[in-house]
Symmetry: C2
Subunit: 270 residues, 2 copies
């Protein structure tokens, strides 16, 4: 299944929806957060003509990110393969809708960088879950770009202040359920900037796959339906280039996972 939160030209409110034969059909919830929290089987309603996916999960309680999870990205940062996942937290305010501009203030030191990522959406409550329980609790997969303000990320030992700028993490456009896609077997994660490919990794090379991350996190904090876990970014980020290359006003960031879709977001330094 491909599910999303959509709007239509005739209705300003959002609606959860399922794609059937290329068309969006209404589901009985205002968005995917509400749908997943309800635990209801998605029974398709009427078609929603001209529906357009928006931010799939408007207010996840948790958005937990894993850093240093692809072998090649670990190598470009000069580190060794980790025994434990490197985790940090974001808040829902960080999320940004598909197609929306990535707006940042014109500060001297931003060093705005891209990080294409596979995102896992939690579908059931998890506490100290086994790997099998975690796997069963995966509602689906979507795309994220963990746009990072490197100058702030580097200010201190903790990355949070470079990772939690409001409305800078594009997420979406749709959530694809595990029966249609298997990131542990491998999907490609691609980032293009102004049409030039900068990242292409495969999730089969993840040190910690989605189920491993969910089980690990659930050891110390509960995960609930609609929570999101970002699985890390492959090699090819701007700070790893020679010389380091960062995003500028007007740059178009495309984040793609074949089988899920494409996020297109433009940088605006306001």
């Amino acid at each position: 299944m491909r599910i999303a939160t959509v709007t239509t030209p005739s209705d300003s409110a959002t609606c959860a929806a399922i794609e059937i034969d290329g068309r969006w059909h209404a589901l009985p919830a205002a968005d995917l957060s509400e749908l997943l929290a309800s635990g209801a089987e998605p029974a398709p309603g009427p078609e929603l003509p001209d529906a357009r996916p928006v931010l799939p999960l408007p207010r996840p309680g948790k958005v937990i990110c894993c850093g240093l999870n692809y072998g090649d990205h670990i190598a470009e940062t000069g580190r060794e393969t980790p025994a434990y996942p490197t985790l940090f937290a974001k808040y829902a305010d960080t999320l940004l809708a598909p197609g929306a501009d990535i707006v940042l203030p014109a500060l001297d030191d931003l060093e705005l960088d891209w990080e294409a990522e596979l995102a896992v959406v939690v579908g059931a409550e998890l506490r100290r879950a086994t790997r099998a329980q975690a796997e069963d609790a995966i509602a689906g997969y979507t795309i994220a770009n963990d746009i990072s303000v490197r100058a702030w990320q580097r200010r201190t030992l903790q990355w949070f202040q470079g990772k939690a700028w409001d409305a800078t993490t594009p997420l979406g456009p749709v959530v694809v359920t595990p029966d249609e896609i298997d990131p542990t077997a491998g999907v490609e994660v691609i980032c293009r900037v102004n049409g030039v490919e900068r990242q292409r990794g495969n999730t089969k090379t993840l040190v910690f796959d989605s189920a491993a991350l969910l089980a690990y996190i659930s050891t110390f904090t509960v995960l609930r339906p609609g929570d999101v876990v970002l699985t890390g970014t492959p090699g090819g980020v701007g700070m790893g280039m020679e010389p380091p290359t960062y995003l500028r006003d007007g740059d178009v960031v495309e984040t793609e996972i074949p089988g899920i879709g494409l996020l297109v977001n433009t940088v605006r330094i306001a």
Copy 2:
């Protein structure tokens, strides 16, 4: 003013309350989060006999912590005075009520440590605030203990997984408004374990005071009424002792700020 979220023996629901002459009087909200979000002036209602403070803010959208903010604690970790605040995030699930047990599973490697802290409660929305705006937006101050699972904190570069264990950060018991207390001028922050004083710092030695932290954070993410910022811990944590000394099952942690009150929580390794 001293305000709190309380329960009474006659009512299982919580209620916001204000202390007048040592007695709790009802305020028109279910808890302090609701009271602060409403922006209403707290007009005291009837007395609530035998009221008992519980978790003052049950579900803050953000609980942002500053590390390495006291000169003496910075020295015991072997670091230099920072140019920028070291920030990391928690979720509301991490919070624990006054008097409640700090329960952790019996894992081999916990190294459970104490960190007494002054916590600032946000009273108004802040976006890219000046210091003066941030100061005006402080609803009040309370007490926290950022109980840390050092073995997990040290597993990776990011502290989150050692800091975000569910129900391990005692908060409360009351919120004291800025007209009654001035942490920038200085209040003492004290931690005792089984009656032995382990930490005693003064907030006048903070590198970044409450208003500075709120203004800085609001540069990159909005703060809303009821959000909480932990200002860091003074010297004297268990990992700084010779030899390092950690909390064990049955240990009683007292966290005190004279002028606010006392948190008493017992460690239970289950």
